[in-house]
């Protein structure tokens, strides 16, 4: 049984005529201990999808309009408040984009980690356990650090504290929503390395949200690419990275800067992600697509299984660009 199974999830912002669909029929699954990377530009709906797993979207304005989210076989969208509190942290933990803003500025970091223990593993809510967790995520001198306030740590250290806090209740799934975007490049690599290492050591599954395909190869078992609220391509990481089937995936890969390329210009994808509620007719990517044909402006392509465990939302994906 998959640890996480999302089926045809639909999330709106607003109700009735004014509703804007931010997530449109997303399906994903993640086996225990595996890593799934959810890739896409800002505004593609990947963070909204990630937050919905523990129903963390503020509602209103968010409305869970359809589909289901099964976490260890339990239907998240039907859970009562008390049940939700159990799975939040206990079964699925989160690491967010801005560690500085995600830690409470007026509470000592030891206190914040201990709180996560009290909520889910009260018998382990000791200072010794907090120190062990800080050591686990590579914080030097954890005995003195537990007394620190968040602002006294660097961005990288703050993110390590967030990870320690997320891991404290021993969750089965760690959702990391762009955990390195706000950090320096050298620190980014360290944090990704830490996540890989922790997964090996602790065996939890990871859902990593990123817009950087460059880090996907280092960590992912599976990849799902999102564009304008839909999955456009899904498959095992090595396969997908070797032979991307959707022109958007290919464009994302081309825009990863590489050290051994001859050109010194960064390749970008022309145009921008369409605004929520202003998605183009037909294929949502066609205005920016390098291989678009006239019919792409009318027909919305379905997500098609091109191979076992491999889905692409483009009928012309394998034709040369």
């Amino acid at each position: 049984m998959p640890l996480l199974e999302i089926r045809n999830l639909q999330i709106d912002f607003g109700r009735g005529a004014k509703a804007l669909r931010a997530v449109d029929g997303v399906s994903l699954s993640l086996e225990p201990g595996q890593t799934l990377c959810l890739v896409g530009e800002s505004g593609s709906g990947k963070s909204v999808t990630a937050l919905s797993i523990a129903r963390l979207l503020a509602s209103p304005p968010a409305v869970y309009a359809g589909g289901e989210i099964l976490l260890a076989g339990r239907e998240v969208l039907r859970m009562r408040a008390a049940e939700l509190r159990q799975i939040r942290g206990g079964l699925v933990s989160y690491v967010f984009q801005e560690p500085g803003a995600s830690l409470n500025p007026v509470l000592r970091i030891g206190n914040q980690i201990q709180e996560a223990l009290q909520l889910h593993r009260p018998q382990a809510a000791t200072e010794a356990e907090v120190i062990r967790l800080l050591k686990l995520v590579g914080i030097p001198a954890p005995e003195t650090r537990i007394k620190s306030y968040p602002h006294e740590l660097s961005g990288g250290m703050q993110q390590r504290v967030m990870i320690a806090m997320a891991l404290a209740p021993q969750p089965k799934l760690l959702v990391a929503d762009e955990p390195t975007t706000a950090l320096d490049v050298t620190i980014q690599a360290q944090i990704i390395e830490l996540l890989v290492h922790l997964r090996q050591q602790l065996g939890m599954a990871i859902l990593l949200i990123t817009h950087n395909l460059g880090i996907v190869g280092d960590i992912a078992d599976e990849v799902a690419v999102m564009y304008a609220g839909q999955i456009v391509e899904r498959g095992p990481a090595p396969e997908l990275l070797r032979r991307p089937g959707h022109p958007y995936t290919r464009a994302l890969m081309n825009s990863v800067p590489s050290l051994d390329s001859e050109t010194d210009r960064l390749t970008t994808i022309a145009g921008g992600v369409p605004q929520l509620g202003a998605f183009p007719a037909g294929c949502r990517f066609h205005p920016r697509c390098a291989i678009a044909r006239p019919e792409c402006a009318h027909a919305s392509p379905p997500l098609v299984a091109v191979e076992p465990r491999r889905w692409v939302r483009c009928p012309y994906g394998n034709s040369p660009a």
Binding site: L56, L84, V106, M165
Partner: protein, 307 residues
């Protein structure tokens, strides 16, 4: 830290001296003869001249100001022109009433405003939030003298629940304090509300929810303390200015507080008493600034290390 304290001290002194200077000139710019107030309008020229000589009223303003500052430097606020009572003594006798009134009112409005602000932020845009918004807007736009008179008329005079126009002790401060609290609670409920709404949208509140914290824990452990930081500044300033005299309410309820003392001294052109009450009030405001700063360091760790 030491330089910060010294700078702080220097500016506090400048503020107080500036206040003293300005007040002295303003009081002297008011037309009218103090001697006539003291001796009565039918007093003879000789008597008036005697009074003028006694209080050096004919000296140039700057010379009198100089004398006043020398007196101040000796820690002496002087004596009332009208009653000859020592100014410091008058303030000392009247301060407890104002302090008790303010203290009681602060307790009442904070105890109401914090829960109201928190709940309206938690259930924002609900009918509850909207109702409280209307009530709060009414509360903060009520004229104080009007509300005081209305409450006094109905609750004290008509219904007889409170005494009218005399003062025995703490119990008789309940109605004046409630009046004051009613005038302040609306503003504070909105202030807490606005700050809570902002904090509840912050990433660390989302992170607390993601941990599995209960709603109560999110509101009171994670959000409230952050939301109260700006509220404490306002509270410090308001308490200081109220301790310097609650003018209208003391007046309507005939309370022997600093406010009534200040009003009376202005009506009498009683220069030493005016100076004393104004300086007392200014010192409270400066002192409140210090206290608020100290509280800040305690409630918000980021400020302590920045200093």
């Amino acid at each position: 830290m030491l330089t910060r304290l010294l700078t702080r001290f220097w500016w506090s002194t400048v503020t107080l001296l500036g206040t003293a200077f300005l007040t002295f000139f303003l009081v002297n710019a008011v037309p009218g003869d103090v001697a006539k107030v003291i001796a009565g309008s039918k007093a003879s020229g000789e008597v008036l001249q005697e009074i003028h000589a006694k209080y050096h009223l004919d000296d140039p303003v700057l010379k009198r100001l100089g004398f006043y500052f020398i007196q101040l430097a000796h820690g002496d606020l002087g004596h009332s022109y009208v009653t000859d009572q020592a100014v410091a003594e008058a303030i000392r006798i009247r301060f407890p009433t104002t302090a008790a009134l303010t203290g009681l009112a602060v307790l009442m409005w904070v105890a109401l405003a914090v829960p109201l602000g928190v709940l309206t932020a938690r259930f924002r845009n609900s009918w509850f939030d909207r109702t409280i918004l209307v009530v709060a807007t009414v509360s903060l736009s009520l004229p104080s003298f009007w509300l005081a008179r209305v409450l006094q008329y109905w609750l004290a005079y008509k219904l007889g629940w409170f005494p009218v126009g005399f003062f025995r002790g703490l119990v008789d401060l309940l109605l004046p304090a409630a009046t004051l609290a009613l005038l302040m609670v609306g503003y504070y409920a909105r202030l807490v509300h606005t700050n809570m709404v902002e904090v509840l949208d912050s990433p660390y509140v989302r992170a607390a929810r993601a941990k599995g914290a209960s709603e109560t824990r999110v509101l009171f452990k994670h959000a409230l303390r952050n939301a109260l930081i700006p509220v404490i500044t306002m509270l410090g300033m308001d308490v200081a200015s109220l301790l310097g005299g609650v003018l209208f309410i003391e007046n309507v309820f005939a309370l022997p507080g600093i406010g009534n003392l200040a009003v009376q001294s202005v009506l009498n052109l009683d220069v030493p008493m005016i100076m004393g009450t104004v300086l007392f009030s200014a010192t409270l405001v400066v002192g409140a600034n210090w206290v608020v700063d100290l509280l800040y360091g305690w409630i918000d760790p980021r400020i302590k290390s920045a200093g």
